[in-house]
Symmetry: C3
Subunit: 334 residues, 3 copies
């Protein structure tokens, strides 16, 4: 990137206070700005850095009145905090110009249907009858099985593996080495102590505007579909088992595991390393603290839970206070 | 798939009750059957769906007597529940006709030995002196290091990486992006505070009829072997460290971690996110609840454990009842 | 490998006691040695195996005086325990002769800079302006994005994916299917209940002598860098979120998760499945027990912590003793 103060002001609807021609090529935090970088100042506790920063340009709120002299050119905007995201968006979009590309050593089955301006990286594989929508970017070393359907404007990062028959909506981002559609984990015990594999012929359906983290696994159903609804955001190294359904706009941090056939509501927030047992219903707007384990239905919306097995957060805190006091006093006074 | 009621009856040893020529192309749950689909009815609580279902064919027990009129053709069998698995097996086997295939851009070392009707996908790599048994399918983008031995009728899904020297039995399934044989995690602390890597020259030995989940890691030993015995089933995102041995027919759900040199018995069941410390012995037939942590030997067979550090399940439940009561009452009454 | 007793004595600075020409081709544990293998005897509790072992050569301490007759040739050294590591190093180094290699179907961008004797495996991809130092080995099916910098003598195992712009030092080992530089997990909630993606334009900086486990994920920052300092060792399936910094020589077992912007000190040791919340500071020399969860700053160096939320280890043990007693007594006596 290379942007002048004037261009930045235009993008953000702001006003330049200083050198209109000042040029930046990179972003930096306010506390570590260097010449040629742009920083943001929104949180008053960082004010001292505005004066000492070596950043060439600093984005500030219109209301900001410097108490000392400063070297940087300021770009004054209505809301410096949200201006960060807006400028990052602008820069990223600039980089992400759509183009048609066919990598070398990639395989695109004759019977597949590939949209307009689709990028297919080197050594990627697109199976028979697969469909890929317009402007989708499939990076290098991706595997897309037979009959997979992927919508438009998706980004499929290197090494993603999508088993045959899976369906993926529009504007979906899948990070590197994620696996969509491996067999659900199901075995019937036999009399001799061994297990018989239960075949899984279902699929995974992923809605629009979903993001799936790196190395995350979403398994297919035995019959029917594992469903990830619109707007779900899923961090790295998560496990979504067969026949699970995750409601719209639910957000999961890294390493969350959800066991088979559990139905999760909308707008839930799960912190890292949460585990949810199989066959449960989790109401919408449930918040679950890190490392908690859920082993029964959550029927009421809006609960905040913690612990294994999880309790209401306040209950957990009180219970843990007693547990901890026992540790301090050697356990005698109770 | 395309099957008539008559064909299905033949496969399942059942009897058609309705249109022998009725055709289906897909499976559906009884509650969401559509024309052209086949459903199963075994659990009485779903009986109402038998009458309202739009499925073209429904598999039922021979003893089933409809209380209302119904549209679907029935196929009556001895056990509708196990008929699901049998028909899924039949359909899956149909799809899985063995064939010899050499993908483009794959590399098969001249000194390797490849059996009959082996499929090797695009961009896969098979190193020097590796051996692959008959009817094994190696999907696209797989890496098989020098001297690896893989038995017959195995399925190695896309992106699996197998380090040099590993040994894998017959009828083994390894899901996408699993890693077999990375270095065990071992470092000797030096006086200057840094660590010296301990080289791992051992291997991983996987028996017959084992299934390994997507993105699971099984590390090799320093000396000797990490051993996964016959019939072990391993879900996604598990970690099996160096020099571990897992006994026959032990089953692990997703995200289980077993630290170095621990020996696990036969027929154990570990739920999701269980952790087992290093150097332990876990007796056969041990069941460990989700997220539990094991930090000492389990000597007695057949125990059911829960918590971190794990207690006997009943003990844990009683202890947790007290913990929880403290949370409700504010901790005062105890 | 093929080594005689004499060669081994030379490598280890030891003395042969037996047949100087005795030849070995593999390592074995003392309790399972076979003809043609070499074993080590350091721990007195294994003494009986020295006499029964079928190993051709056994490394022993100079001070060892056999109490029975034995068949193996002995190589006597100052410290049999550390001789294991030294001989493994020697053998591994023998195997790892550097060579220039360009795999088939790999892509090396014209504008990239590749050092001396660099190995690039089949189907690997090296993007524009990437730099790779001397003697680095990039295995098969690796993705190295535009502008990535990798130092010298690194080993990048098959299937590793490195997003554009990441920086990696010298002597770094990254195991199979690890992902470096996926987007940090950041979304701004919008009024309609959906989320807006926060773009991440930062990078990941990995120092020298770092080892990263298989399937581990290290995310890039929004602005600035996620930093893994020199000497850090990271086991499989770990998650290091955006903007985290990990201090020198800190060691993490498998499945550890560190949330965004947390700063970890030097020489810490985290056991398996530990979770650390976002935005925290963890002092140097902190030891955290398996499965523990950290939700507040650790300010004092040298603490040993356990539990979720973590307590000092002693405190936890006492508290847990009470918890457990409640489970045994049915909770009545407290």
């Amino acid at each position: 990137m290379e942007l002048t103060a004037e261009q930045i002001a235009e993008v953000l609807g702001g006003v330049v206070d200083g050198d209109r021609e000042a040029k930046v090529t990179t972003f930096a935090r306010i506390e570590s700005g260097k010449p040629g970088s742009i920083s943001f100042y929104a949180n008053p506790k960082y004010e001292k850095y505005v004066y000492s920063s070596k950043a060439t340009i600093i984005i500030v709120n219109k209301s900001f009145e410097p108490k000392e002299s400063l070297k940087a050119t300021l770009v004054r905007v209505d809301d410096a905090y949200s201006a960060v995201a807006a400028l990052l968006d602008y820069v990223t979009a600039e980089r992400k110009k759509y183009c048609r590309h066919r990598g070398r050593h990639c395989h695109i089955a004759f019977s597949s249907k590939i949209g307009k301006k689709v990028y297919v990286g080197d050594c990627s594989f697109i199976g028979k009858k697969a469909k890929v929508g317009d402007f989708t970017k499939i990076y290098e070393q991706v595997y897309i099985g037979e009959g997979v359907e992927i919508g438009s404007r998706c980004i499929i990062y290197p090494g993603v593996k999508i088993y045959p028959g899976m369906k993926i909506g529009n504007n979906v981002i899948i990070h590197a080495n994620a696996v969509i559609g491996a067999d659900g984990f199901g075995f019937a015990p036999l009399e001799d102590g061994t297990y018989r594999k239960i075949q899984h012929t279902g699929n995974v359906i992923i809605g629009n505007d979903v993001e799936i983290g790196a190395n995350t696994c979403i398994d297919k159903s035995q019959i029917g579909s594992t469903i990830i609804n619109d707007g779900v955001k899923n961090d790295n190294l998560c496990q979504i088992a067969h026949n699970v359904e995750v409601g719209r706009n639910t957000v999961m941090s890294a390493m969350v595991g959800i066991a088979g056939s559990t139905k999760v509501g909308e707008h839930c927030i799960f912190a890292g390393q949460v585990g949810i047992a199989n066959g449960l219903k989790i109401a919408s707007n449930t918040t679950i603290g890190a490392q908690s384990g859920i082993i029964s239905n959550i029927n009421e919306e809006g609960e905040v839970l913690f612990g294994t097995p999880a309790l209401k957060h306040r209950e957990f805190l009180r219970a843990y206070a007693v547990f901890r006091r026992n540790g301090r006093g050697g356990g005698k006074q109770d």
